[in-house]
Symmetry: C2
Subunit: 139 residues, 2 copies
């Protein structure tokens, strides 16, 4: 990476809300950010989208559950090509709320399916306040 | 994704500080989280590691610069295999400070090299308070 490469940088375009939502629906791994007493925390989680809202599963005993049951949070999904230096990212900002079991999507396949071991029976959804996204085009 | 797959979930192992730092040094794209008046924000950024600290470049006019010049932040790097449902993530939590130009690494290659267009002459480093990481083994 020399000075020349530093000047050949990719163009950034802003994604529409529809494009953001489509990208969100088409993926199932993102990064959930909340705030604890020390500041922001980011953790990768599996998710699903139901009724236009991001849905994640956690356990009642996690740090996340303690601090992000009903709180301002952010959720980021991206796909970035490390070779091409291109890709996209989408950010949902909003407030979490605990989802009652009866409000879960009926189909198991429409619920978040965590890849990691452990029991996760606390479902949170993010009531979106804002959604934004951008795409970095290859140079 | 049926019920059977939901029971075959990967084992999570905790990474040592040394493993976390090695993974951090070996990569150059992560997700920076800070807090503005509305709550947490997450944004993908290029970074470098100097003296064991994450270094990012931004512009003085960004939302990030306004809220994260000297603030509690988090920085997350991961590499997750969407097919294998495996991967790792590392989280640095700490406090940002503005890096004087004289304190930048002398070699340009040791500085963060943003892939996106735009002038970024404000360098921030994260003075780490805690580093943690985990690995999700394939099922």
């Amino acid at each position: 990476v020399g000075l020349i490469e530093r000047w050949q940088r990719g163009e950034v375009t802003v994604l529409s809300d529809d494009e953001c939502m489509k990208l969100l629906v088409d993926h199932n791994l993102g990064r959930f950010a909340y705030t604890d007493d020390e500041g922001p925390v980011v953790t990768p989680v599996n998710y699903a989208v139901a009724d236009g809202m991001v849905l994640i599963a956690t356990s009642a005993h996690t740090d996340l559950a303690r601090h992000a049951r009903s709180a301002p949070v952010a959720f980021e999904v991206d796909d970035i090509d490390l070779e091409q230096h291109s890709g996209w990212s989408v950010l949902v900002r909003g407030r979490t709320e605990v989802l009652d079991y009866d409000d879960l999507p009926a189909a198991h396949t429409a619920r978040p399916a965590p890849w990691a071991e452990g029991v996760r029976t606390l479902y949170l959804r993010i009531v979106p306040g804002a959604i934004s996204g951008r795409r970095l085009l290859p140079v």
